[in-house]
Amino acid sequence: MKAIAKAKLNTLLDAIAKESNLLVPVSGDGTSKFAPYTQGAQLSFDGRTLLPPKDVFFPQTEKMYKFKTNGMNASVETALEAPRLQVLFGIRPCDAKSIHCLDHVFLTKGYVDEFYKAKKDATLIVSIGCNGPAQPTCFCKSMGVNPQEAEGVDVHLYDLGTDYGVVAKTEKGEKLFLDKYASFFTETTAQVPALADFPLEVNVDGITEKLEKMFDHPLWEEVAKKCLGCGACTYLCPTCHCFDISARVAGDQGFRFRCWDSCMFSEYTRMSAGNPRPSKKERVRNRMLHKLQYFKERYGDLLCTGCGRCLSKCPVNMDITKIIKQVREADLA
């Protein structure tokens, strides 16, 4: 296996940044997220970032098209730009899994979302494995994610202690990373260390099938009581992808954009005819069922990767693992 010393990583990142737009995990100001690499930035390689990498492909606000009106006339001009090649460096296996889930949504079932696809196609993804939970709230292992391995990425780095072991997962990764930066890599025979225990575990076997019988279960009323109906969980979630489409208009011109939306907000499903999800019971239930039942039924995967972000930042400690446990223990009338 090829390898690079962690101490030399910055020289590699410098080289990549010279040629491509390089996004790395950066921490500061009480938060951490993927941001353009700058020399001297505080890189955050100790586990997942607070903000997920989903905005690299699916920005919180994205202009779709500009328009002009002139009396009765109107014109529309797309805002889809051809992005230059970018390298997304250092996502964790939980986030790699989340991108796989986003691919289902934006690239399949009859319609391809060009805004997402353009950015995804132009991105080389380099992941880093975790040898244990970086945060107590990590439970990826329970969600079928191998913490040390990542799927759907171009290059994967194994954490070998002082080195990263570097393996190409796609042809793109081989050519544009391993071959291109070959001079930075040495050979190693080091083994990936044993995986540490995760303090938070949950069994999801059969959860979808159980939930299919629980739409009307009193559990939802119970678990929803403490929910504040804010969007912290959905906005920090690497897989939550629901969006709104809205417009900014000034006089005779404007643009239409899409932006993240949250199923936790009362306004989300409100229509002139009423709201099919009028209270937090229906909204919490929909979020949980979307993650654990509906998405699995539609795309074959659970829509939770066990990154634990929602759990770490929920104002009221709403715990998806606890809800899964409650579902498993629930009596079916």
Partner: protein, 292 residues
Amino acid sequence: MITEQMRAIAKDLLEKGEVGTVIGWEKGTFWYNSTPLFISKPEQVDKLVFDEFCANNLAKYLLDFKLAETKTAVFVKGCDARAVNRLLQDNQVSRDKVYLIGIPCPGMKEAPKTAQPQDIAGLPLLTKCKMCATPNPVLFDVMVGDPVPDKKVADRFAAVEALEGKSADEKYAYWGKMFEKCIRCYACRNVCPACNCRECCFDANGLNWLGKQNNLPETQMFSMTRAMHVAGRCIECGECERVCPMGLPIMEINRKVIKDLNELFGPYDAGMNLDDRPPLGTYKLDDPEKFM
């Protein structure tokens, strides 16, 4: 021990049918999480706890029960009790529908973020608790435990004064950097006991008071509007700042507003008692009007 006394009181209330629901705290995911709990049966009282991690202000949940036919009991720390006073002053809940169980609060602790239990005494106080001047409930029907001694509080306006000393450009740069981080999850608004509008103007879709783009002007618009809207009604529980996932210093804005109000209308602490109305909710002939 306080937890035992809470359970006994809750059990008694539920057994006698004096209340329909008791709102308290239970242990959450880890030893350093305590989380809101709602119980309606005597056999559930053993879940109730009170420890150094019961930071959640429970008062706002009373809004979910204001149409309940039965009384609702809620455990209140000093800040929670002030929040109840505020809700009562806003006629959001009626006093005869709530039963308040006061708990003197020694201050809540920061979560250490490690699953291994640690010495709780060594953990730092939450920022919001360092600034707290009312650890003892100002309103209650029954009190659990003994009042904690009043403590000397760090000067709560120190950060505001430091900011006031900066130039307009420096202030704009400071807040710009902060609000750029805002993800508009509305956790601050939704946790706030002063934000008790039946429908928030920012949720009134169609009216488009606030665009949904996540950018600096829109987040500033949201945060500043919210700060102005809770002016004179903020009880300084600090929940907004505690729950902000992006760590924004929201209380600095709220305290700036409080400081300005104090200077304009005289010292006022919201929610301390039912009779003192908020300065912007009363009219006096000698009110200053130079800003009008």
